[in-house]
């Protein structure tokens, strides 16, 4: 028994030794991460950020910047803050005005995580918490490139990832603009003529107010300096007024001087980087747009081609543009420009000459070629697009070329565009962007080559222009009716090809879909929507957009694209 006891004792001791060894206190982490937050990071480097940290403390923002969130913080270093304090005449952070400090902090914070990958020529994708946008760029000094924020501070260390966002260290304090667009211009004597015109035409208040409703607040102003005006022979406000104002009251909306200024104001805040991403921008002058493009890295306004004639545009001067104000941004135009009144002109649009096919030397005017859209996101052709058909194999757009086939043998340049259409499985609409069309009232003719996939095929479609439904439908399986030109025009049809016997040419039909008044001069959108039937054989050759008061039947077109007036 005693032995037994000692055996148990020995066993117990042994197990105790094992147990106690395994019982070492475990190091349990209670945080999910050891990363510091924004304020934590600033505290870690007091040599760089003690003053900015003081500002955060004084404005009581430290607490929320140390809590969960997704922020981007532009943190100015101590030298930067000191420079700013000296400029403001404050000896220390405590001596500075509290409201100014609060605005300052808001201007350095974004409610999103923005890395330097999002920095481009222009504003950041989200505004600051002060609700003004920051402008980014890159400056190069002495061979060293750095990101430049708001043309005020350089990024000295970027993309510091912390628990609740991203910090970019900057060498100067960013200052929000405190004056409006027109006040900024007023302060510059070199814009005196333009500013006076703004005052006389009654736009001063509009350009001076900061609307509390941010959807209405932002404007973009394209200003003309006295120099730009002088280059066009206008050396004083009187000369400008004499040139444009014909009603003696520039404030009148029908006065050309009023229109001139209205034409220089765009809706919304558009930095140069935004301006070039869209081909046209609506101005405050009703129904007038400025067209914009990037040519050899210069931003050009109103350089357009009308009927083969290129009209020279006006350059926006980069280094003096992109000036942010409390209610928008203003740019500096390199020359004088104004609203242009153009007479409506017919556009005989050969839809099958688009840049993507013209690049294929082996196909353009030589052989058919088919584009297959691999996925709904894929857009192989810029100006011809269609609603994705559920049957993937019907999402094919064909440049159809043949000198012999009955579908294209009399088509202009022997080519057409072909797209399958129709519910339930083929593409559900076909959309195209026209060349620029001058505003005015036009008749729109769809010129197609009739074809039936099978004898029972039917393809009735309606047409919308800029989203507006046209009164007449087209059917890709309809032959052109018989009759003289006058008889046909009376019922809204025409022979758009060079004159031939009806029995050889009846496939080629121009059908009037309606009359439309284009409100702005720009590229317009035409969409064809199938409503009954479905087939693959839908061929469009041309679209004629002809002013209502012009001859709708002539010219006709021969297979080499030349115009025939008989």
């Amino acid at each position: 028994m005693k032995n037994n006891l000692s055996y148990i004792l020995a066993f117990g001791l042994l197990s105790f030794v094992f147990a106690s060894q395994s019982c070492q206190k475990m190091d349990i982490k209670i945080e999910t991460t050891g990363d510091v937050n924004i304020v934590g990071y600033l505290e870690k480097y007091p040599d760089s950020f003690s003053l900015f940290k003081q500002i955060l403390d004084r404005t009581e923002t430290s607490a929320f910047l140390n809590a969960y969130g997704a922020y981007t913080c532009f943190a100015p270093t101590n030298t930067g803050v000191k420079t700013w304090l000296t400029k403001k005449g404050a000896g220390s952070v405590d001596a500075a005005d509290l409201e100014t400090l609060k605005d300052l902090v808001r201007f350095h914070l974004l409610l999103d995580t923005i890395t330097t990958s999002s920095f481009k020529d222009g504003k950041l994708p989200v505004p600051t918490m002060f609700s003004q946008y920051l402008v980014t760029g890159v400056s190069n000094k002495g061979g060293q490139s750095s990101y430049l924020i708001n043309r005020q501070a350089l990024v000295t260390q970027s993309n510091i990832k912390v628990g609740n966002g991203i910090i970019h260290q900057i060498d100067n304090v960013l200052e929000p603009s405190t004056i409006s667009l027109v006040k900024q211009l007023e302060a510059k004597p070199e814009y005196s003529i333009f500013v006076q015109a703004i005052k006389e035409t009654g736009f001063y208040d509009r350009l001076n107010t900061v609307d509390p409703d941010t959807s209405k607040r932002w404007l973009t102003l394209i200003a003309e300096s006295n120099q730009a005006l002088a280059d066009s022979g206008i050396t004083s406000y009187a000369a400008l007024k004499a040139k444009y104002s014909k009603t003696s009251s520039p404030a009148n909306a029908n006065d050309s001087l009023h229109m001139y200024i209205a034409y220089h104001i765009l809706d919304g805040v558009k930095f140069l980087g935004d301006i070039i991403t869209s081909p046209a921008h609506q101005t405050l002058q009703p129904q007038e747009v400025v067209s914009t493009q990037l040519l050899n890295s210069e931003v050009i306004v109103n350089e357009d081609e009308f009927n083969g004639v290129v009209e020279k545009g006006v350059t926006l001067i980069r280094n003096t543009s992109d000036n942010a104000a409390t209610n928008g941004v203003w740019h500096d135009a390199g020359a004088h420009f104004s609203v242009k009144y153009r007479k409506p002109t017919a556009v005989y649009w050969d839809v099958s000459s688009f840049p993507e096919i013209m690049k294929l030397a082996a196909n353009y005017k030589k052989a058919s070629f088919t584009w297959t859209r691999q996925s709904e996101a894929n857009q192989p052709i810029k100006d011809h697009y269609w609603g994705w058909g559920t049957l993937a194999s019907t999402n094919i757009f064909t440049y159809s070329y043949s000198t012999t086939s009955s579908v294209t043998r009399y088509a202009v340049n022997f080519d057409c565009n072909q797209l399958p259409l129709g519910l339930p499985s083929r593409p559900i609409w076909w959309e195209m962007m026209t060349p620029p069309i001058i505003k005015g009232k036009y008749k729109i003719w769809i010129c197609y080559s009739r074809s039936k996939q099978s004898s029972s095929s039917n393809q009735l479609c309606q047409v919308t222009v800029n989203g507006e439904l046209m009164p007449r439908t087209i059917n890709f399986t309809d032959l052109r009716p018989k009759g003289s030109d006058a008889e046909l025009e009376a019922i809204g049809w025409k022979q758009y090809t060079e004159w031939r016997e009806y029995r050889t040419d009846s496939n080629y039909a121009g059908k009037l879909v309606g009359t439309y008044e284009f409100m702005t001069t720009q590229k317009q959108q035409i969409r064809i929507i199938p409503i009954t039937g479905t087939q693959n054989n839908n061929f469009i050759d041309m679209i004629h957009i002809i002013p209502v008061d012009e001859n709708q039947v002539l010219p006709r077109f021969s297979t080499d694209g030349s115009k025939k007036y008989f």
Binding site: D121, T136, V138, N140, Q144, N296, A361
Partner: protein, 497 residues
């Protein structure tokens, strides 16, 4: 009772001893340790083959060919990112490379460099152990390792500028230690030394066409040396190295009368090739999913046919550059044809399991154009123009745009750069070509870079990109974040602060 204790102890000993037999064995069960390797000539041969195999891709990191494609093409006007391009790839296109960018990782190259170092360090010891291993065989092995190490360091310098220069093998964990960067110049000195060492050690031929193209020969070394000298602006030396290859008579331009695409790119190992990475059915490259239109990460840039190869609208029978549609790219869907095509009619694609187009490091056309570039800098534009002409005649090139003026050195420099763009499209050379020409004479022709970027970069990012490029350091990749964290002696490229 005593027995009970005794039995318990016995049992424990028995259990413990029997299960422990493997524990006392220190050698790994699934591999060979160094002490058992490096004994026979076959093992040396296997180690050298391993260098090439590692360049084909090991499966653990981005394969070399893919990396070189992205390093050499992504920042240029040759390619556009497809819809499957990763954010890392889009960032490279936009000149927004961050230290976290997946393609800033150099481990693929250093892994192969370590294989080279291992051969250089351990192969000589085999001479004493294996009597059948001759000095000539050792020389060859050493030469191949030196040549490839030199070439990879040359790629690293052109891509990262300053990098750590590791010349001894990392054989055990004890060899892992932090290393600081060496200057680009000192690395290039080492590269030249490596190549000069390799040159006499390597044979002119292995007696077999496929081996001559896939293994480093003396001509491979001459080609790399010419490229290094050209980068370092030592033109006489560059021309001399080119002449060694040209005078050998072993190489020529293929496809003058036959299909250039078929011989040079589809079949591979052509008489024009000097050094290729030989993928085959057992080891395919990663280009197929990368370039196929339904999973595309990279496509050809849309302006190439129109503005680079040119469209003939004058002649009744149009002149068509052989290197354009159906060779470098398929124009109608912008597929990069060099790696994807199966015929030069532009109709048949390689199947996924056929994706073994070789990666061509150097070919004879490169030698001719490098020589042209070098002698043009030595004020012989007329002789340079003759070399360019031979390339253009082979390709049936169309004269359009810039005119080749054989009396104008500056004009020739630009013309040769354009000809290289046409000739070596998608072969991972464009970025290095443009940088080399732009940096010459202290960035006298900086516009080569901005002209190129003006085409490739999205419009709203152009100004930012132009100003970034003005900083010379922006031409080089950042050091990958993981390397910075694990090697505390590394200092980031100052541009990526």
């Amino acid at each position: 009772m005593k027995n009970k204790i005794l039995y318990t102890c016995l049992l424990m000993v028995a259990l413990g001893a029997s299960s422990c037999s493997k524990w006392l064995e220190l050698k790994p069960q699934d591999g060979i340790v160094r002490e058992e390797f490096w004994k026979t000539k076959e093992q040396v041969d296997a180690a050298v083959t391993g260098i090439y195999a590692s360049m084909l891709g090991t499966g653990t990191s981005t394969p070399l060919a893919e990396l070189l494609f992205i390093w050499g093409e992504a920042r240029t006007d040759m390619v556009t990112p497809g819809f499957r391009a990763s954010s890392s790839e889009n960032d490279i296109v936009n000149m927004n490379i961050l230290p976290t960018n997946a393609f800033a990782n150099w481990r693929t190259l250093y892994a192969t460099i370590n294989y080279c170092n291992t051969v250089i360090q351990l192969a000589p010891g085999v001479l004493a152990k294996d009597n059948t291993f001759t000095q000539a065989q050792l020389d060859r092995a050493m030469g191949e390792a030196y040549a490839i190490r030199g070439m990879l360091y040359f790629y690293l310098v052109r891509t990262f500028k300053d990098v750590p220069l590791k010349l001894d093998a990392t054989i055990s964990d004890e060899d892992i230690r932090p290393m600081a960067k060496s200057s680009a110049d000192s690395i290039l000195n080492q590269v030249v030394l490596d190549l000069k060492t390799a040159e006499p050690l390597l044979p002119l031929t292995y007696g077999n066409q496929a081996k001559d193209k896939g293994r480093a020969t003396r001509y491979t070394v001459n080609a790399i040396l010419a490229d290094v000298y050209l980068w370092r602006e030592k033109y006489a030396e560059c021309a001399a190295e080119c002449d060694k290859v040209i005078n050998s008579g072993s190489f020529g331009l293929v496809g003058t009368f036959t299909s250039m695409f078929d011989e040079l790119f589809f079949r591979g190992n052509s008489a024009e090739a000097i050094f290729e990475l030989q993928y085959d059915a057992q080891k395919i490259n990663t280009f197929h999913p990368m370039l196929l239109s339904s999973t595309r990460r990279w496509g050809a840039a849309p302006h190439l046919i129109e503005e680079v190869y040119g469209i003939d609208v004058i002649n009744a029978v149009p002149i068509v550059d052989k290197r354009g549609d159906g060779c470098s790219l398929r124009a109608n869907d912008l597929t990069i044809w060099k790696y994807m095509g199966a015929n030069d009619a532009g109709s048949a694609l390689r199947a996924a399991e056929q994706s073994y187009a070789h990666w061509i490091f150097y070919r004879y056309a490169d030698i001719l154009l490098m020589k042209a570039e070098a002698i043009n800098q030595m004020d012989q534009p007329l002789e340079a123009s003759r070399l360019v002409k031979s390339i253009r005649t082979r390709a049936n090139a169309l004269d359009f745009g810039m005119v080749m003026d054989s009396t104008d050195k500056q004009g020739m420099e630009e013309y040769i750069l354009q000809e290289r763009q046409r000739e070596f499209a998608f072969e991972g050379k464009r970025w290095y070509d443009v940088v080399r020409n732009a940096k010459r004479n202290n960035f006298a022709n900086f516009r080569y870079l901005t002209d190129m970027v003006g085409i490739s970069i999205p419009r709203e990012r152009q100004q930012v990109a132009f100003n970034k490029l003005k900083d010379e350091n922006s031409l080089y990749f950042p050091i990958f974040l993981y390397e910075l964290q694990s090697n505390k002696l590394l200092v980031q490229n100052p541009f990526y602060k």
